[in-house]
């Protein structure tokens, strides 16, 4: 089979066998949820509930705080016990959160819903916006904005991202096998909104069953493109290149080459909102890693504390482990939490618990491996060097802002250089020095 792919990339151990055979199960409802008002890129939402107020499942508790922002809903039925700022590592700053004590089973507050074909494009976009849907692959970009590009951008292709190139994670894989009908409805809705006819789904070749299954199931509707199993195959620009052969220009967006990329779980959420009226209050995620007793795939309410998930769904951490690293997301791009009570957010596609290993590094030996693997054609060793020397302008000249922070360079480096750490910091400082512009 000739598999579509991109230039560069790495082959970390996949570790998907821990959870890929396990069907998605419904988590029992947690007694307490902590819902951040920032569940998306852009401006935080503004809380619209007060302490002591009763809320229903699906009721709006936060309204968009700007054009790029999103609604936030109550994931349970109960009473608001606190509205306060909580510092957290996901956004690197304190963010307002609404704490809700659950008091009963779900009493839903639904959105207007029904047969999607009867809704106009504008109505559909409005439902998606009101449902608080954001990119569930991890980027958390508000979906109603992404599906509504400026008039001058001609969109001709919709690409569904089913690559799931992050090691360990299997939720998208399970979604494709278990929820293909719902996802297809979501795709049809997105197609209608965008007015496109070309729809592809890219799936890495390590998910043969999903490739074969969807080829049959979605015949004539969505073109299934098997992709080479290589990290970061699911990164937006690399995925678009693999499927269409088009390169998103430097500093540009997929819409600049007429493409919109959407994750499979996002398509499912769209169907839930439009057809069933359910706002985004729960999502599927993979609970996995060597440190957890029982890996699996779960439907979990947004705002559920990770400690609760680990105890109640994962049966706790294995005994005898001294150190554990708990990641929101997969091991390549995931965020290590510093507090187990951190609640999950909309973009959380996995919780990966690793047993950390110490590795000793040296100076860069100029082996050029990082240059060879960088999917963006950058020179990671040079970015690291310039970043450490605080030569930010020079770093930008050689592509600092083009880095997608995939971590391929640090993965492969024999000297164990932490390029991504330096690059993230350099970007931050550079942007701060530029007054937030550019």
């Amino acid at each position: 089979m000739n598999l579509a792919t991109f230039k560069g990339g790495v082959h970390p151990p996949e570790k998907k066998e821990l959870s890929k055979e396990i069907p998605i199960q419904k988590s029992p409802l947690p007694d307490k949820v902590v819902v951040f008002m920032q569940q998306h890129t852009g401006a935080p939402a503004k809380p619209v509930v007060e302490v002591g107020q009763k809320v229903k499942t699906g009721q709006i508790i936060g309204e968009p705080g700007g054009f790029i922002s999103a609604y936030v809903h109550s994931p349970v039925t109960g009473t608001v016990t606190e509205v306060k700022k909580i510092s957290n590592i996901i956004f690197g700053k304190a963010v307002e959160a609404v704490v809700i004590q659950r008091e009963s089973e779900d009493e839903w507050e639904l959105l207007p819903h029904g047969d999607y074909e009867k809704f106009s494009k504008e109505e559909l976009l409005d439902i998606i916006k009101k449902a608080g849907i954001v990119g569930l692959g991890g980027a958390m970009f508000p979906t109603h904005v992404k599906l509504n590009p400026p008039q001058d951008k001609k969109i001709d292709t919709l690409i569904i991202n089913g690559a799931e190139c992050e090691p360990y994670l299997t939720i998208d894989h399970r979604m494709m096998l278990e929820k293909s009908e719902e996802i297809l409805i979501g795709i049809k809705i997105a197609k209608k909104i965008l007015g496109v006819n070309n729809v592809y789904i890219g799936i890495e070749s390590n998910k043969k069953d999903a490739i074969e299954f969807l080829k049959n199931k979605w015949k004539g509707q969505v073109i299934v493109v098997p992709l080479k199993t290589k990290y970061p195959q699911g990164a937006e620009k690399q995925l678009i290149y693999a499927i269409t052969g088009k390169e998103v220009p430097r500093g540009g967006l997929p819409m600049d080459v007429g493409v919109v990329v959407q994750n499979v779980s996002t398509m499912y959420a769209i169907k839930e909102a439009v057809v069933d009226g359910k706002p985004l209050v729960e999502r599927g995620l993979t609970l996995t890693g060597e440190a957890i007793k029982r890996p699996g795939n779960w439907w979990v309410r947004i705002g559920t504390p990770i400690s609760w998930i680990v105890e109640n769904l994962g049966e706790g951490f294995k005994e005898g482990i001294e150190n554990v690293k708990v990641l929101m997301g997969g091991p390549m791009m995931g965020i290590p939490i510093n507090n187990l009570d951190t609640p999950i957010v909309k973009g959380n596609n996995g919780i990966t618990s690793l047993i950390p290993e110490e590795q000793r590094g040296t100076f860069c030996i100029r082996c050029s491996y990082c240059v060879d693997v960088c999917p963006m054609g950058l020179q990671p060793y040079l970015l690291d060097l310039l970043g450490k020397k605080r030569k930010y302008d020079e770093a930008v000249e050689v592509g600092l802002l083009d880095c997608i922070e995939c971590g391929s360079c640090s993965y492969v480096c024999p000297a164990k250089i932490e390029h991504v750490k330096t690059i993230k910091l350099a970007k931050k400082v550079y942007r701060a020095l530029r007054g937030g512009k550019k």
């Binding site: 430097r250 091991p331 290590p336 083009d402």
Partner: protein
């Protein structure tokens, strides 16, 4: 009590390390070293071991006591330098001369420039150049192959094939192509057997430890240049095959010019570097006072690496070709 560890993404790292890279290079040099034992006696082999041991010990001393890095752990790079220096000297070089060269290689060429990864010049070649100027006699006296594993050293001196070409002409050559290929000829400890060098090189290629563009362009350029000059005068300039098989070309192109630290980072840069090495080598062989020019050309090209890196940056994804 279990501890929650944070840290920086990616949280998965390959098992590869700097030491593993160095060990692979050492493994690749072993065939040629065993060959050296057979061709020049056990002393030649001993010099390489000495280079490795003294190199590591000296670097440990530099790091722990002069550069005050108490957490430094040996990584094998100094052993590689020690072995490569031994491979680049004459088989009967006194051991203390070798060690002086090594002290220069590590102390000056490597650590005075900032240590592993910061040095501009290939340390082993810098050490050799230092010895060549300080002990020219030791460095330019060559010995007949002993062809036995049971000898300590053989002290019958002779001229190298390249010197014969330079001084007498190609028709006076006393070795066959087979001798050159298998290694039965006068020369420095590790350079004589093309076959054994290629075996080690193949190992590095399989392990992905080689910037392949360098040997290809280096040897290719030597082949092209010597083909042209062959038509000018075979007697004076020799044949292309002779130039590829003789002197330190194979050792240089396969193992010295490809030193990771002192070579360019992109295939394009590596090609420029390889072509430069090839041109310089042949110009020295043909027109300079020395019969051999491999080491000097690589050292010269080392100096251009920062410049080459600067002008051969890869194309960034999404960059419009201009």
């Amino acid at each position: 009590m279990m501890k929650l560890i944070t840290g920086n993404a990616p949280h998965l790292r390959s098992k590869d390390t700097t030491s593993k890279v160095m060990i692979d290079v050492i493994i690749a040099l072993i065939p040629a070293l065993i060959g050296a034992w057979y061709f020049f006696g056990f002393y030649a082999f001993f010099l390489a071991i000495l280079g490795a041991v003294v190199g590591e010990a000296f670097e440990l001393f530099i790091m722990r006591y002069l550069r005050k890095d108490k957490s430094f752990v040996p990584n094998g790079s100094a052993a590689v330098t020690g072995i490569l220096l031994a491979m680049n000297v004459s088989p009967a070089t006194p051991w203390w001369v070798m060690i002086l060269g090594l002290v220069f290689a590590l102390g000056v060429a490597k650590h005075a420039f900032g240590g592993l990864g910061m040095n501009i010049f290939n340390p082993a070649l810098a050490g050799r150049a230092f010895l060549l100027t300080s002990f020219p006699v030791y460095m330019t006296t060559w010995y007949k192959p002993a062809l036995s594993f049971s000898k300590w050293i053989d002290i019958q001196t002779t001229a190298t094939p390249l010197a014969i070409l330079k001084e007498k002409g190609f028709s006076h050559m006393n070795v066959s192509y087979a001798d050159l290929f298998f290694g039965s000829r006068a020369g420095s400890i590790g350079e004589t057997s093309v076959l054994l060098l290629l075996i080690g090189f193949a190992y590095l290629v399989i392990r992905g430890r080689i910037k392949l563009m360098i040997p290809i362009t280096y040897i290719g350029t030597v082949f092209l240049m010597s083909s042209i000059f062959y038509f000018v005068s075979p007697e004076k300039f020799g044949t292309p095959l002779f130039h590829i098989l003789s002197g330190g070309l194979m050792l240089g192109a396969l193992f010295m010019a490809t030193d990771m630290v002192t070579s360019p980072m992109t295939p394009k840069g590596q090609a420029i570097f390889g072509i430069g090495c090839g041109l310089m080598t042949m110009l020295i062989r043909y027109f300079a006072g020395y019969p051999e020019g491999v080491s000097l050309s690589i050292l010269l090209m080392n100096a251009f690496v920062p410049l080459i890196d600067r002008y051969t940056q890869p194309r960034i994804f999404g960059e419009v070709k201009s």
